[in-house]
């Protein structure tokens, strides 16, 4: 792994020493087939282009070095008058040949990798549908059995070593789905359906982010990606399929009543409860997610309370309105939502 990064980062060595190319949102730290193939293409490109660049710089440096001769005399209006004209023209032809050869290698390399990516489809793929909205991700896990489908938001769990075929749609404007550690991006365009296949090979926590400018909160439209073992994935998805339990604690019940009675339920759904809103993220298992408001804050009870008390200060311009609640109602609401593990 480290050797790979070293090769990939070659000329960036200094850079690499300082910061490292590894990261939860890095194309240079591949954790899946697609990202790994792309990274090998990157390495090829970096080396060939690096050599070409070096040649140009050397030639430039040499021509400047030659200028020490401080030649005088009239300017040369006819190239043929110079003894260097013919050798230079030959060198020019050679240079063009070299460029063509280098570019051919790169083009073929690009086609080969592109072909590999196109062939990554697999029958046993996990099917997930992601719908992007201003500024959050709706994530639907498909299943042939209708009642085994489930919906979550702003988080994507994938089992390791199994390809996932992701169907991409947009609810409003154009967005772009991008999890650099797993593979390249693909746009989500209203009126169209795009597909992307990702085959994770390494377990870990990664981060994706919308990559097409989509308005005010484009910067806060992240997606938490968890690549986990098949068994952990199965456990997680079974848990996600469970509806929220009706709260027995009177305080939580009061919170639920606030949720349903105030504007919350008209936009958000909580599975198993009366809330069926489809405009905003599904909140059935809100408290089990890593972050809040599409990656705007790590999830915590405090962050949740702050978000509910003033949604426009954390993520200005987002479509969640401030819903008037008194402090007591707000506390109950936070308790209730925080119980939705």
């Amino acid at each position: 792994m480290i050797r790979r990064s070293l090769v990939a980062c070659g000329p960036w060595l200094l850079v690499w020493l300082l910061a490292g190319c590894a990261g939860a949102q890095s194309a240079l730290d591949p954790a899946g087939d697609q990202a790994a193939r792309t990274e090998s293409l990157w390495t090829l490109m970096l080396w060939i282009c690096g050599v070409m660049y070096l040649l140009v710089l050397l030639f430039l440096a040499a021509s400047i070095w030659r200028a020490r001769r401080r030649l005088a005399g009239p300017p040369l209006s006819q190239g043929q008058a110079s003894p260097a004209e013919r050798p230079l023209l030959r060198a020019l032809t050679g240079w063009v040949g070299l460029t063509v050869a280098g570019l051919l290698v790169l083009t073929v390399g690009s086609f080969v990798v592109d072909r590999q990516l196109a062939q990554a489809e697999a029958g046993q793929a996990l099917r997930v549908k992601v719908t992007a909205n201003q500024w959050w991700w709706k994530v639907e896990y498909e299943d042939p059995v209708a009642n085994r489908r489930f919906i979550t938001a702003n988080e994507l769990h994938l089992p390791v070593d199994r390809p996932a075929r992701i169907e991409l749609e947009a609810g409003d404007v154009i967005h772009s789905f991008w999890v650099p550690n797993l593979g390249g991006k693909q746009d989500l365009i209203p009126g169209r359906t795009n597909h992307l296949t990702l085959t994770p090979r390494r377990m870990g926590l990664f981060r994706g982010q919308c990559a097409e400018f989509c308005g005010l909160q484009h910067a806060n439209m992240a997606l938490d990606v968890t690549v986990e073992s098949p068994s952990a994935f199965t456990a997680w998805s079974e848990h996600q399929r469970q509806p929220a339990r009706a709260p027995s604690d009177p305080r939580l019940a009061r919170g639920r009543d606030v949720f349903v009675g105030a504007a919350c339920a008209s936009c958000h759904a909580v599975g198993g409860q009366t809330a069926m809103g489809q405009v905003g993220p599904d909140l059935t298992h809100l408290a089990s997610r890593r972050s809040l408001a599409a990656g705007a804050r790590p999830y915590s009870r405090g962050a949740l309370a702050g978000w509910l008390a003033d949604p426009q200060s954390l993520k200005p311009g987002n479509h969640m309105p401030y819903v008037a609640t008194n402090p007591d109602e707000l506390n109950a609401l936070v308790d209730y939502l925080d119980s939705l593990k």
């Binding site: 040369l76 209006s77 060198a91 020019l92």
Partner: protein, 641 residues
């Protein structure tokens, strides 16, 4: 040195008569009615540079905001307007116009002509550009600036997701600047093909003229696409058409195709004139004619053609068919061949020449170092899989700043240092020039090089803030510090301009011992540009023969006349009248502005606005009667017979 056809006394008389014929009126009237390409060109360059500095200030604001994670300096609404205005201003109000501006000033001089081919149209184009640029900046300052980026993708820019007038101002600004760009393009094509000095055959044409010829044709073919796109957008927003609405059979991708069919050639529209400038600077300071001139011309043509075949590489992530994508991969990679050839030829020319490292050549060397790196990252972006990783990230931001600042702004600065003495009669300071260059070069690389890495480690473009802990903090801080150095460099540049304008060393006709026709007249050139029409006998006119430039007479002295020559061989063909100062272009531009701005608010403005526009155009094209002086002379002649 120019050959002389008459005695010194007769020459003085001739100069006085020419001055009477060609001088622009004085005072306010002169300002408003000028059609002299040098006056228009100067205004154009200054206006373009003002927009450059304004957009630069916006860039500094963005870098200030991004210097730290989760900075609260600028909110998302303001930030989106700022980056939209930065891109819009740089692309539409600076980069394209400034290259055309330099051409408006230089092309007639390089052709050995007295004025540009269509002087009134030229004035009209400038006014339209000025009014369009002023409109969008006033709108921005009044908080109705564009907010959806310089590319304004629908449906985000459509009526549903961008209510209000912000996007309408943006779309109409496109109309303004495209009209202005087309106006200049047709003039330059006519000028370069039909009004070159006798003897300047196509195979002797200076490379800047070739570059401008190709560029102008590109403008003519590319700009209509974006005007169509922005007109569709305005009508979607104003009168409820559904060109881009998928729910009604429209298609958001239609916008992207039309925009990038213009947008990619646009990059070369900016870049090719810069290549022309580089060729002149390299030739002059290496004191050697360019190596492989025919190959250089063909490379420019190849760039121009290929530029139209690669727009889809901006759309690889939209899910178009893979086979189609690979065609655009090949086309995008192929364009590196002509560009690489030119790079080699310039370095080889320096190699075989007797180079003098004055400021213009420094900027050219900076250009080569920066631009080649940008070109190579461009090759990387042409590969679909790699593009899918780095598309819309800071890697792309780094890439296009390397090609646009490296490929166009560095040559432009070189060109300003090179031709400033011609336009003003004074040389810019070499010492400040070196400071200007080095601070710019270092500042540029410190700012933009780290962005390559930022993109690879996941930072998307157009975000107003980012979280700490993603490994982006340090690189953003470094980039922001670098931008301060660029700002310092720009201050040095302006100081140099101001000081040199007043106290700079007097240049004389040809301070660099350059070879082009523009150096065969005084600095600054007189209103009539050349006393006699220069005659060209080789590729480097002032270096040919014994250093005496042959000339010919026979072009009108007491009336404004232009000499037309044949397209290929540049043999004298006909003399035709050249228009004099008039207020009509300004009035027509005001009427055009009224129509364009009115139609932001109401569709009927197109109808009512057409009336004053038609009136001004009628006035403009009213057949000229004989001037008073001509009438008097005709009367005298009559008496004589």
């Amino acid at each position: 040195m120019t050959a002389r056809l008459t005695s010194i006394e007769e020459e003085a008389d001739l100069r006085a008569r020419l001055e009477r014929t060609w001088a622009s009126p004085r005072g306010l009237r002169g300002v408003l009615t000028a059609v002299d390409h040098k006056i228009i060109g100067r205004r154009y360059v200054v206006t373009g540079m003002v927009f450059f500095f304004l957009a630069g200030v916006l860039a500094l604001l963005m870098r200030a905001q991004l210097a730290r994670p989760e900075s609260g300096l600028i909110g998302p609404d303001r930030y989106n307007q700022i980056f939209s205005m930065h891109g819009t201003t740089m692309m539409f109000l600076f980069a394209v116009p400034i290259m055309e501006a330099v051409a408006v000033y230089l092309v007639p001089l390089m052709c050995g002509a007295r004025n540009i081919s269509f002087p009134r149209l030229n004035a009209y184009g400038y006014w339209v550009y000025l009014f369009g640029g002023a409109m969008i900046w006033i709108a921005f300052l009044m908080n109705v600036g564009p907010e959806t980026g310089w590319f304004s993708y629908v449906p985000l820019a459509g009526p549903e997701f961008s209510p209000g007038k912000r996007t309408d101002f943006w779309a109409q600004m496109i109309t303004f600047t495209e009209v202005a760009a087309l106006v200049v393009a047709v003039q330059l094509v006519a000028m370069i093909l039909k009004q070159r000095a006798p003897g300047m055959t196509l195979s002797r044409m200076p490379l800047f003229l070739w570059a401008m010829l190709v560029t102008s044709f590109m403008v003519i073919f590319a700009m209509p696409a974006v005007m169509l796109a922005s007109s569709f957008l305005i009508s979607d927003r104003l009168i409820g058409t559904q060109f881009y609405n998928p729910a009604e059979g429209g298609d958001p991708l239609l916008w992207q195709h039309l925009f990038w069919f213009f947008g990619h050639p646009e990059v070369y529209i900016i870049f090719l004139p810069a290549l022309g400038m580089v060729s002149h600077i390299v030739t002059t300071f290496s004191r050697r004619t360019i190596l492989a001139y025919p190959a250089m011309v063909l490379a420019l043509l190849a760039n121009g053609f290929l530029a139209f075949g690669l727009w889809v590489h901006h759309m690889f992530a939209t899910g178009l068919p893979r086979l189609g994508n690979s065609f655009y991969t090949s086309a995008s990679i192929m364009i590196a061949i002509p560009s690489g050839l030119q790079i080699f030829a310039w370095i080889a020319t320096i190699w075989d020449g007797k180079p003098r490292f004055r400021t213009p050549l420094l900027f050219v060397i900076g250009f080569i170092i920066i631009f080649v790196l940008g070109g190579l990252t461009g090759v990387m972006l042409a590969a679909v899989p790699l593009d899918l990783q780095v598309h819309d990230t800071y890697f792309v931001v780094a890439h296009f700043h390397y090609v646009l600042i490296g490929g166009a702004v560095f040559p432009l600065f070189g060109a300003i240092y090179f031709w400033f003495p011609k336009a003003t009669g004074r040389l810019l300071s070499e010492r400040l020039g070196a400071w200007n260059f080095w601070t710019f070069f270092v500042g540029f690389n410190v700012t933009f090089f780290p962005m390559h890495l930022l993109g690879l480690i996941g930072m998307p473009r157009r975000i107003y803030t980012y979280k700490a802990g993603l490994g982006w903090d340090l690189w953003n801080l470094i980039a922001s510090l670098g931008s301060v150095l660029i700002a310092v460099s720009m201050v040095v540049f302006v100081v140099n301009l101001v000081i040199s304008l007043r106290r700079g060393q007097v240049a004389g006709d040809n301070p660099w011992e350059a070879s082009g026709l523009e150096w065969a007249t005084s600095s600054p050139p007189p209103s009539y540009n050349f006393l006699y029409t220069p005659v060209v006998t080789g590729r480097e006119p002032l270096w040919e023969g014994e250093g005496v430039l042959p000339v010919m007479g026979g072009v009108g002295v007491d009336q404004r006349q232009a000499l037309c020559t044949t397209i290929v061989e540049a043999e004298p063909d006909v003399r035709q009248p050249s228009a004099g100062p008039t207020l009509w272009p300004l009035l027509a531009a005001v009427a055009t502005t009224g129509l364009f701005i009115g139609s932001i608010f109401h569709e009927w403005a197109l109808v009512w606005g057409a009336i004053p526009l038609a009136a001004t155009l009628v006035g403009w094209f009213w057949p000229p009667g004989p001037t008073r002086r001509q009438a008097a002379r005709a009367a005298l002649a009559e008496e004589g017979t």
